[in-house]
Amino acid sequence: MSDLRELYQEIILDHNRRPRNFGVPDQSNRTAKGHNPLCGDIVTVYLLLEGNVVKDIQFEGKGCAISIASASIMTELIIGKTEAEALELFQSFHDFVTGDDVAELADELEELKALSGVRDYPMRVKCATLAWHSMAAALDGDGENVATE
């Protein structure tokens, strides 16, 4: 079970049990739905942009512990960031879970490191990045559905 503890660290189980910023906000001006064709999971992300700053972000949907935790941690990190910073964060996270070389994450991204376990489970990288793809699509502003494939 030790390998499992690597994948399902306590932070992940906690975010899965009590996802932060979960629900449909009263106010949002950008939204996108992400779909994982592998499992049929759907995560919708709602953003409230003021100027180029993310004032609020919430998400809803069904997903595995990995995708829910990743979405939950993402919302905490994105609030208050500019669009460019949010997308840059997505890029670092993406590199972190897919890169051959283990990219280092900044200290402020400590919680994301809990998702490092998915590197050993290539099938689960899609779960970890689902909400991030939705967030990026929402920022793109076309509001179209995105898929992780």
């Binding site: 079970m1 390998d3 499992l4 994948l7 399902y8 189980l13 592998l38 499992c39 049929g40 999971d41 759907i42 069904k62 997903g63 595995c64 512990a65 990995i66 489970y121 689960r124 779960c127």
Partner: protein, 423 residues
Amino acid sequence: MTEIKRGGRAVKLKSVADGFDLDQIREDFPVLRQKPHGRKLVFLDSAASAQKPRAVIDAIRYCYEAEYANVHRGVYWLSERATEAFDGARETVRSFINAAKTSEIVFVSGATEAINLVASSYGGTFLEAGDEVVISHMEHHSNVVPWQFLRDRNGVLLKVAPINDDGELILDQFEAMLGPRTKLVAITHVANSLGTVLPVQDICEMARSRGIRVLIDGCQAVPHTSVDVQALDCDFYVFSGHKLYGPSGIGVLYAREELLKLMPPYQGGGEMIASVTFDKTDYAAPPYKFEAGTPHISGAIGLGAAVDYVRSIGLEHIAAHESDVLRYGMQRLAQIEGLRIIGAARQKAGVISFVLDDVHPHDVGTILDQEGVAVRTGHHCAQPVMDRFGVASTVRASIGMYNGRDDIDALARSLNKVKEFFG
């Protein structure tokens, strides 16, 4: 033991009279010796693709090592040997499903291609705008999407027969859907996501008595039950080799010869022609008319070997053993608190689909994997069924001839670990 001749090769097979010996069968499947994460492999995903017995692996190796050349073309010794083995596989398949003639057995890449072939060639030619195709609510996507293509191209209407909360076809409602414009019923024999066995004999009678053609998707049926296409009186019966312990990339379309003669070719190329000039091409007779290009020679031979192997064990023995394991599994899993079985049809084969409390099927699958237990998680290419039961995905444990009650025990133990972990 009996010995049969397959191409240039003598094959030793068990005889059905020897009975069902689970330990011996497990010995026959080399992959079962693998140790995922250091654990005994408990393979419960045969509905996705079954493992291969030594007999199939040997037949494919022999094909490439001893009798490989293109078929139906060469006049030399090696090509004749390959042709004999390839044609022999067609005869083996014919006899397996009791088709009247080998010309009714078309080799395709799998059931998906078979259905696309029928939708395109038969549907595209004989169905008109306003004609209806009836499918069920528990079809695999491969028996949904080709008919949607036809709908979008020809204006054919697609009607879906409903199922009840146990995952059974509601037969009287199905029958009520068969109207004057219904031209084809395309329906599964055993539902891949739920394991429901459909009353295909009744379905065929209902359809045939109204002059409606019937296509049966037999992918999940042929590994578990014997099929007689003449007794069924169906028009088309399709299945894939890889779920029947044979190789992937090969499958079978059975169709009545009279239909194959009427249907236009699906693809053009070599093998399917009688003569070609730049003005006009005459097509070969069935089945070759539908087999353009060099076929999957080793695949067909491997499929033939798989059929020989299954018949040597005996489908009656296999069905009796698997239904014991299935019954035991349904009982054992029902005892796990928070586990909900999806699909409780009275007639079921090979599949237990379930969800566990709030734990997502992918998380269940990953934790089971650590215990050496391989199951399928997801929507099983049957999203309308998932929608019907209000879930996005399930965990599916499916049973092959090599599974025993011990595999169910391992699954149940591992599921309890999942609960501890997420509890």
